[in-house]
């Protein structure tokens, strides 16, 4: 009875593991949660206060599909300032979360039979939406040896005359990898040469520990072919508020706004107002979160590297580590189950992010340092049992 395209839809395993972990907790088990990509902090107080004021001030009505004009303006000014780009409100579409930008942009750009190159391991929704739309998903392998990046030749080999779009994600989920300036130069040249679009998922742009974030849109010829995806979920601990946005050429922005008009109308008004405050108000709460993330990263990476059978690179951004666990002699998915069922740590198999995630686990460090220490003890116990 269901439409055929439904068979091509995957899942986001994080929520499946979360549900299993909760079920175990309901049986009285103690579980350390390192599976979900959601900051454990509260939304900064100035943003919350603005949300409250907006509701009291009657921000309860429909707004334009592309977003409230004053909010689009704030977001455009922020991206112009932060990334050094010549963009205006007409380039911005505000959506309920960063995810809708992926869905709408790909729906607007990709025809059946087109090819989309996406990072693998990578955020699972990319591949799933590409397949759902009847396009061909072409995985670009990120390898540990290259610090979870790729050689430009690897990418060039994947490009064909049907390549419509390349998805980039830096800082990256699940590896924490960050593309270098030289990478961006080379990718940009390729995109211009072969005339494809780039969806640049920059949702972790502020969660970066070494250097600063750069957008590929700054490279010559790229502004007109780049969609920047950004949002408030991660930087301002606003996952449940559902606020994201895309910055793109006006013609595409108009098409994406049209899609939103017909799919869900607009983004909750009070959330938009609060989101503008997030970008214009004080940034110290956001900075404090990044400092805490960094301390946790250092703790987790050092701890993992002391465990026999596990090696872990130091990620430069986001709040995930992607340790190599292949020496433990089990498939990643088995380790995921074992770790949860027997040792009480919820983490994700690297394969939740694509086939090239085999041999890895993903730990999110959006949890406190004591919880991370507890997790490390449990992972050590698993390693000891497996390696005898």
């Amino acid at each position: 009875m269901l439409a055929k395209r439904m068979q091509r839809l995957g899942t986001e395993t994080a929520f499946v593991v979360l549900a299993r972990a909760r079920a175990l907790e309901a049986q009285g088990r103690d579980i350390v949660h390192l599976e979900i990509g959601e900051p454990d902090f509260d939304t900064p107080a100035n943003i919350v206060a603005k949300g409250v004021a907006a509701l009291q001030g009657g921000e309860t009505h429909y707004g334009p599909a592309a977003g409230k004009p004053e909010v689009r303006k704030v977001f455009a000014e922020y991206i112009a300032r932060d990334r050094g780009l010549d963009v205006g409100p007409e380039n911005v579409v505000v959506t309920p979360g960063g995810k809708p930008i992926m869905y709408f942009v790909m729906t607007a750009l990709v025809d059946e039979g087109d090819e989309v190159i996406y990072p693998n391991p990578g955020f699972p929704i990319y591949e799933s939406v590409i397949n759902f739309l009847g396009a061909k998903s072409v995985p670009l392998q990120l390898s540990e040896a290259k610090d979870f990046s790729f050689d430009i030749a690897d990418l060039e080999r994947l490009v064909s005359d049907r390549t419509k779009l390349l998805i980039l994600n830096s800082p990256q989920n699940p590896t924490g990898g960050v593309l270098t300036g030289a990478d961006l130069d080379a990718i940009a040249r390729l995109a211009v040469k072969h005339d494809f679009w780039v969806l640049s998922d920059e949702i972790y742009s502020k969660i970066i520990y070494e250097g600063t974030h750069e957008s590929i849109a700054t490279r010559p010829g790229m502004l007109e072919r780049t969609i920047i995806l950004d949002g408030h979920s991660k930087t301002y601990a606003m996952t449940g508020w559902r606020l994201g946005y895309g910055v793109m050429p006006k013609e595409l922005a108009d098409a994406v706004a049209k899609l939103q008009t017909n799919c869900n109308s607009c983004t909750a008004s009070f959330t938009q107002i609060a989101g503008a405050e997030a970008l214009t108000g004080p940034q110290d709460a956001a900075a404090a979160m990044v400092a805490e993330f960094r301390a946790r990263r250092d703790l987790l990476v050092a701890g993992l590297n002391e465990i026999p059978g596990i090696t872990c690179r130091l990620p430069r951004g986001a709040f995930y580590v992607f340790p190599n666990v292949s020496q433990l002699g089990r498939k990643s998915s088995e380790l995921e189950s074992l770790l949860l069922d027997k040792y009480g740590v919820a983490a994700l198999s690297g394969t939740a992010f694509g086939k090239f995630g085999e041999g890895y686990l993903r730990f999110s460090y959006a949890n406190s340092q004591p919880q991370i220490r507890k997790a490390l003890e449990r992972v050590r116990a698993m390693s000891a049992d497996l390696l005898g």
Binding site: T43, V48, P100, A108, F132, D195, G240, E251, N262
Partner: protein, 395 residues
């Protein structure tokens, strides 16, 4: 660089209601005294208790992702509330919370329709139905009512060939006509549906704004035997003046809800957690809902009284929602029937600063839709402007 947009962006047209609203708002921004009767949203504030619940949720924090289908507590509350209204037992697994009723419709059509499938849609229809159907590369079978009253019968469905459709959309009370189906009418339609296998999307978003003695009749109450094929589409936007919160509910078979949830987990994830928590308080606000419905009824009566005597204007008194659909063919030059409603709408906006929506996008050329989600004084003034404008309209 050449823009190579995919097929979908070409297919989907701007929702014309929102577009006209934008034009009127531009005039307003310039300080022009526009009366805007275009947009479909209550002008009331969201009931205080709901806003207070949101305030509490914001103060308490912990507003992270919820399950894609919605907060378990809200799904349970919706299940219980609608079990009573629809007269069938409903489990939380048969409920999804989406970004407005619009996303419920989008989800439902997306999981059902293959390219080339057909969907039967009564005329006049809400503009989003054909847009969503076209976006999925499916086809609309318009079902034209053969009797006055803007309501279709089994014979109309039969004549249109609705039997071969994959889905039927019903909408009671209707946007744009304000028509409300009676129990007897729905029973007759249900009898027809029993002979088919299509899904029935019943859009009941205006369920609390009905001004007849019989009141709103949910399709489910007359056809519980068809429940595995019925998707009830509703939400808080209209009844609770919550359009900007984006809360819609879908009630359907667990398998359909599961598929809709999977799609939504890719397109948007869960709905705003704060809005979901606030929605828990909504069903306690029935007094406020009734007060708003009473106000809409009084406004309708005022508008109807003032428009009734305008020469050339014909309309049926709407029984629900907050729209009046007027036949303006008596005002349009018979030599130039095409585009008459657009010319009149433009004339109204330019000469009298009165914004209304042309009927053509709803499938009824030579009609105008007037929303009466405005105060009675405003509506009286609007009617006066309308009367003046018809006198100067060249057809």
């Amino acid at each position: 660089m050449e823009m190579r947009l995919g097929w979908l962006a070409d297919v989907i047209d701007d929702s014309p209601t929102l577009k006209l609203d934008g034009q009127a708002k531009q005039l307003l921004a310039r300080g022009e005294p526009v009366i805007n009767l275009t947009v479909g949203e209550p002008d009331f504030d969201t009931p205080l208790r709901i806003r207070e619940a949101a305030h509490r949720a914001l103060d308490e924090g912990g507003n992270g992702y919820t399950a894609s289908a919605g907060l378990p507590a809200l799904r349970r509350k919706v299940a219980d509330y609608y079990a009573a209204r629809l007269g069938v037992s409903i489990s939380p697994g048969e409920v999804i919370v989406s970004n407005g009723a619009k996303q419920i419709l989008y989800n439902a059509l997306s999981i059902l329709l293959n390219q080339g499938d057909e969907v039967a849609v009564p005329v006049p229809y809400w503009v989003t139905y054909p847009a969503q159907i076209a976006a999925l590369r499916a086809r609309m079978i318009p079902v034209v009512p053969s009797h006055p009253g803007w309501k279709i019968t089994p014979e109309d469905l039969d004549r249109a060939g609705a039997g071969r459709a994959k889905a039927l959309i019903l909408n009671t009370p209707s946007n744009p006509s304000g028509a409300v189906y009676t129990r007897a009418e729905l029973e007759a339609l249900a009898e027809y549906c029993r002979k088919t296998s299509f899904f029935i999307l019943t859009d009941e978003i205006y369920e609390d704004l009905v001004y007849t003695g019989e009141g709103h009749i949910p399709l489910m109450t007359v056809a519980p035997d068809l429940r595995h094929r019925i998707v009830t589409v509703t939400g808080l936007s209209k009844s609770y003046a919550m359009t900007g919160w984006r809360i819609g509910f879908g009630i359907a078979d667990e398998k359909a809800i599961g598929a809709m949830t999977r799609l939504q987990s890719h397109s948007t994830s869960n709905v705003n957690t704060i809005a979901q928590k606030a929605s828990l308080a909504a069903f306690d606000c029935r007094d406020e809902v009734e007060a708003m419905a009473a106000a809409f009824r009084a406004r309708r009566d005022a508008l109807v009284a003032d428009l009734a005597s305008i020469p050339g204007l014909r309309f049926l008194v709407p029984d629900g929602a907050f729209y009046l659909l007027a036949d303006v063919s008596g005002l349009v030059d018979p030599e130039r029937p095409v585009g008459g409603c657009w010319r009149l709408a433009e004339h109204l906006l330019q000469t009298e600063k009165l914004a209304v929506v042309p009927g053509e996008p709803f499938g009824v050329p030579n009609h105008l839709r007037l929303s009466y989600a405005a105060g009675e004084t405003t509506l009286r003034e609007a009617a006066a402007r309308f009367r003046r404008a018809t006198a100067t309209f060249g057809g």
